[in-house]
Symmetry: none
Amino acid sequence: MISINSRDSRAIYEQVREQYRKLIVSGVLLPDEQLPSVRETAASLAINPNTIQRAYRELEADGYIYSLPGKGSFVGDFRQIGTERKRELFKIFDEIAAELLYFGVSTKELCDRLEGEARA
Amino acid sequence: MISINSRDSRAIYEQVREQYRKLIVSGVLLPDEQLPSVRETAASLAINPNTIQRAYRELEADGYIYSLPGKGSFVGDFRQIGTERKRELFKIFDEIAAELLYFGVSTKELCDRLEGEARA
Amino acid sequence: MISINSRDSRAIYEQVREQYRKLIVSGVLLPDEQLPSVRETAASLAINPNTIQRAYRELEADGYIYSLPGKGSFVGDFRQIGTERKRELFKIFDEIAAELLYFGVSTKELCDRLEGEARA
Amino acid sequence: MISINSRDSRAIYEQVREQYRKLIVSGVLLPDEQLPSVRETAASLAINPNTIQRAYRELEADGYIYSLPGKGSFVGDFRQIGTERKRELFKIFDEIAAELLYFGVSTKELCDRLEGEARA
DNA sequence: GTGGTCTAGACCACC
DNA sequence: GTGGTCTAGACCACT
């Protein structure tokens, strides 16, 4: 489910965290679904469990997952918690959109694109 | 025209490059307009000219500016070169939009936001 | 017929020389066809005649044109003279081809491309 | 592995960059193979490390190598990145071929030449 | 040890 | 004056 790219200059825990984040926000992993355990993930990637632990810890701090000691880690209902993340996203969205508009892309083209994504 | 934030973790040349890039793509600096010279910018920011030179060099490599040795550096006609940049931007736009949509933001809200930007 | 790009960092006489060279090797200008005079070209581009003169001089040195004092400059039958130029071209051709082949392009694809050009 | 020609009018960093580029695209250096370190190369050529650094930086920007800070620089999987490079190469290939064809070289001669290279 | 950034100061060619 | 290259030497974070 997760892979590590040794050519990627980012730290391993960042790669793991980002990949889980994308799996969660893209809906591949559904709310309350159980994640593979820290040890399991670590073993399958041949990586130190502490590294995975750190990725999970940060995912939990941002509300993407929640952990039940002794039971495991689960996908959170991040939609309620996402307020801060949404603010970040809107900021980037505005910047990107502004540049695209200045490059001559019409608002209509962008809206059509959004609707295309929404259907997908 | 440009400022440096010592609390910004990015390298100085990146800060300078990004600020000029934004000034250009936002239309504050117009095509063929002359940029302040390397030395001038360096002096006004109390920074080594080599650092500014590097920012200018990368801006030129990406087509945002063009340099005429002995004359100065000028804003390029980035709209022609923008084709590649647009591809990058669309890619980020899609990722950001996908995440926002999954967070429950409606396409309509995003479209309205786009139109708000277009008017601004 | 010729244009000058002030954004081009190359010297003006180089721009002129290269543009005439391309017009000649591409067959737009035919052997023994008369070129616009130095003064005429200089006037139409609002440029010092010496600059055009230098371009013509170098074109003549390489056999692309020949000058008849008092009559004008004419396109040469460079196919006989092109020996040295051909050696250069073959060298570049080999380098480019080697890189393309290493990138996985087949010789057949390149040959087809050559035949396409030959027909055009 | 690399040499510098003081009679070459090109900048030192360009000579270094081009020589490494050729070693990579010709397959002498294989993907993920480690390059000599910046300092090592600089020392062996009696050149300032900054100059080599710049060559490496540009190679990385073009995807020919990737750098892992603290570990070293390695040959990239340029065949993936080669798409853009191929476009450039095809463009030059067409120009060179067009000129050769106009000089009276037959497509057959060029194709034979290509096959000769492919076997080599 | 590695890559990466930055400074200070020099020199060149061109305008 | 301009952009561009190069050197010498320092410092940082990471392995």
